[in-house]
Symmetry: D2
Subunit: 294 residues, 4 copies
């Protein structure tokens, strides 16, 4: 499958995600810093939340010709810019390919969609492993040559199994986790290990129909539109920061089975769009909301 060429062209860039209390001149200060050091900005987006008086920014620049060596950028930026302006910031490099773990249960549609993109080279990501609480989707993992780890979960063994999963994730240097219709609630302890680094897909237009069986609830309520929501997982069930949502029309002719069928197409697209944004380092989380840059 290596014959399928990715669409992207590779550039060596650095990406800064910043938020801080708003005040005059932040933007000028940051762009001047990059400019003076010969960093060619290829993307800049910023947002000011006037209610919260908070400044958000994403800037990406080419490393070629940049005066500060990559290994020193963080230190210089922190000393010269971030500390004085009380910034919270993260620095990424485009040549560091993130490592993602997939959690699945029985439904294959999101898994297939992600593996298809992965195989086709659509995303810059590595998927070293798939974890599941069922064995059903093992053949899919095999078909795409990805390690499949089976961790059956019961009330009794949940803490223990999660511990093993965490060890495995650590061993494999996993950066973030995608729950591709994983039908187990992760414990607070697990979630705390990956803050804003676990992406879930919920099969409703949150906050409507949080929790179990949202299509049944939607059918009962007689809604005319159903949706899907991708969000970061927090300790509050289906309450984490929303990354992406989409909807589709339905009507009285749709049975619950038909809502489930229509919903699958929403779920896989919405989840993949959220993962893509995460991979591009375009998401900032602040006070349980996301800033998703364009």
């Amino acid at each position: 499958m290596k014959t399928i060429k990715p669409l992207r062209e590779r550039k060596n860039t650095a990406i800064l995600l910043i938020h801080c209390p708003d005040r005059q001149g932040i933007l000028a200060t940051v762009t001047e810093f990059l400019n003076k050091n010969k960093g060619n900005i290829i993307y800049l987006d910023q947002h000011v939340d006037r209610q919260e008086k908070t400044f958000y920014m994403r800037v990406e620049w080419e490393l070629e010709n940049f005066a500060i060596p990559p290994g020193k950028i963080g230190e210089y930026f922190d000393t010269l810019i971030a500390s004085p302006l009380k910034m919270t910031w993260k620095l990424y490099f485009s040549d560091e390919i993130p490592r993602m773990a997939l959690f699945v249960s029985k439904m294959p549609h999101c898994l297939f969609d992600i593996l298809a993109r992965y195989t086709a080279g659509e995303w810059d990501v590595k998927i070293p492993l798939i974890i599941s609480n069922h064995e059903l989707l093992k053949p899919v993992a095999e078909r795409f040559d990805i390690d499949f780890h089976y961790f059956p979960v019961t009330k009794e063994n949940k803490a223990e199994q999660e511990q093993k999963e965490l060890e495995l994730l650590k061993e494999k240097n996993i950066d973030f986790v995608v729950l591709a219709r994983y039908m187990q609630i992760l414990s607070s302890d697990f979630v705390k290990q990956f803050p804003n680094k676990i992406i879930n897909i919920h099969h409703s237009f949150l906050p409507a129909f949080a929790g179990a069986k949202p299509y049944h609830a939607a059918h009962k309520r007689g809604v005319k539109i159903i949706g899907a929501t991708s969000h970061y997982v927090t300790s509050e069930l289906d309450g984490g920061p929303i990354i992406e949502q989409d909807v589709t029309r339905c009507s009285h002719v749709d049975t619950i089975q038909n809502l489930i069928r229509k919903g699958r197409d929403l779920e896989k697209i919405v989840l993949s769009q959220a993962v893509y944004k995460h991979l591009q380092r375009k998401i900032l989380v602040y006070k349980n909301r996301t800033v998703v840059f364009n």
Copy 2:
């Protein structure tokens, strides 16, 4: 303004809305009845809810050449078809123009949208009066030559004022009520007088953000899509059968004020679409859900 011609062409038709326990042959029985009596069917739509085992149908036929005189159709249909099949049914005639009352408070956008359609002859409806708990929109009513009745409502006088409103509606032979952003909760007693005949617009994608200040709640939750919902009013707040919903995208750049602005366009279009469906007799209500025929 009479110079603005309506788009519709007038035909004299009868419309039957039916629901009943499902069993074989209902459709054949009804169409045969119309057929034998020379009723040219110009529209037929039916739906079977297999879970509820219920049959729904809307059929419209031309009165010209129909063997049964209009004043007798109800009786004949009930005796020959509806009673044996345990049908719940309603009969309408296209030449009976429904009479609608508008309830408003301070926001004019839905009111303007409805009055513009009314004035342009887009709908077959009469609007004998507007009722409001504020005087602010009186000039709009005057501009469109419609009687404006001011009923200020307090905790103390609410029951009394609603009584006066009901008398006025009765006096003016009002068939149904449209709450065009009326910011008062109608009492159960009021609602009971107009079962499935009060149409409300709620400024959220119900059941998300029911109750007050939905745009504030949506902003706080950080949703990526906002919506509006038109529904029949029942005694449960924002819990009645949903007629129509629509949504629009938003993002972190949208302030609450901007969500309100975007939402207004949704609200007026969704409310008007619901009213239009109601006027066309295309809505059946059953167990707090609607069947909205095409």
Copy 3:
């Protein structure tokens, strides 16, 4: 992969697709015929095009208890109903699983989406083979255990290669063909062998941007929405009857590469929805337009 259960429940049904000149009583005649012979109707939808004076209908009924044996239904229906009413009709049985051939070139996203649904048991279909004018996607076919046939096409050998393809399709009893981003124009001769049985996905909102490089054209024109269109192939390029369309927003920030990326998600969903409707026998074609029942 057989462990992944399909969602559908199997019923043995017959499906009739009918169109004919409109006149009074057609619906009653058909439903009576089924009714008298103890055919329990589980789905009925009909449409009258008043401009064209044409009646369209899809009816599906359970074969259990039906008085006429399956092998005789066509004959009886033709003699008793269709001939007198000058109907054009097709009869299908739900236990006949259609056989579909996939044509692909270099882009894998539609292929992956279809094979994922196929593998997961989402559709009642058989896919005996994939045909391609490139070898690039052979590994995908192998991964899903489907025969892959490579037919390189040049100006000179096109007629000859198409002939071989047709023979192969005949040999494998293929019912219909899906062009999953097949980047070769099929000849009129080929198309005639599969009238309204070749489904294509075009990567624009037809009729805008027909022909080659639609995303480049859309970018140049500065549209704010892009789309994808699935249609039956006729001898007119991108001019056949439209089955399904969908759109997504874009803006000045989207490069051509980004339009291509966004468009892929549209293409695969729109194509799969069209194939699903086709598999359900829900599409009637008349005068280069489709009636797509719900």
Copy 4:
């Protein structure tokens, strides 16, 4: 009607719209300039088209405390920043309320929608006059107390009538023109007087169905989605830079009359959104495409 309060809060700001050849440091240069002179930036958005190597920017800052007096900003900016960087730029002040002329023919829906927003104080705009080639909508203008000018147009008198219209627009100091379903093609001479200052609404999803009777064409082609497009008028019919588009679903059940009815709701919302963006000075035109800032 003055009792209806606008939603906006008034701030005295200046707005710069800029485009120029892209090179390093433009953003830093502009923000530094504003920063040094104590201009508090309340909005900044920029876009780089890498293919065209062009930089686009919109920046808005508070005039309070700004060191350069409003009347001198243009001169200073041009000398210090724009000339050296070869910028094309426009400067606006939020306290200059634009003056808009409406052109209409027979259809009132867009006119009503705009006048409703105007009356409700939704927009910061003045509408000194309405021009029409028919007398039909005069009563609407009167109802909203706006001058109505009737200019019947024939092949013979077109040039002469347009000349009178232009004189009237000049006399009334009109800044820009909105064609609210004006069914006359303006001459190139007329259009040249208002470059990128005439906003039209076309009742199709351009470039599909340009020209006359788009709903008839859409019906004939059997599309599953219809649209509306607002664009600046150029000498090429329906070929000018697109500002905003939106779509809605349709199907085989929709007659041409029904497409027209559905389309009206699209047209009025799309046109009003385009006018709103124009009023906010959020649109830049470059090479027949628009940059529409958020």
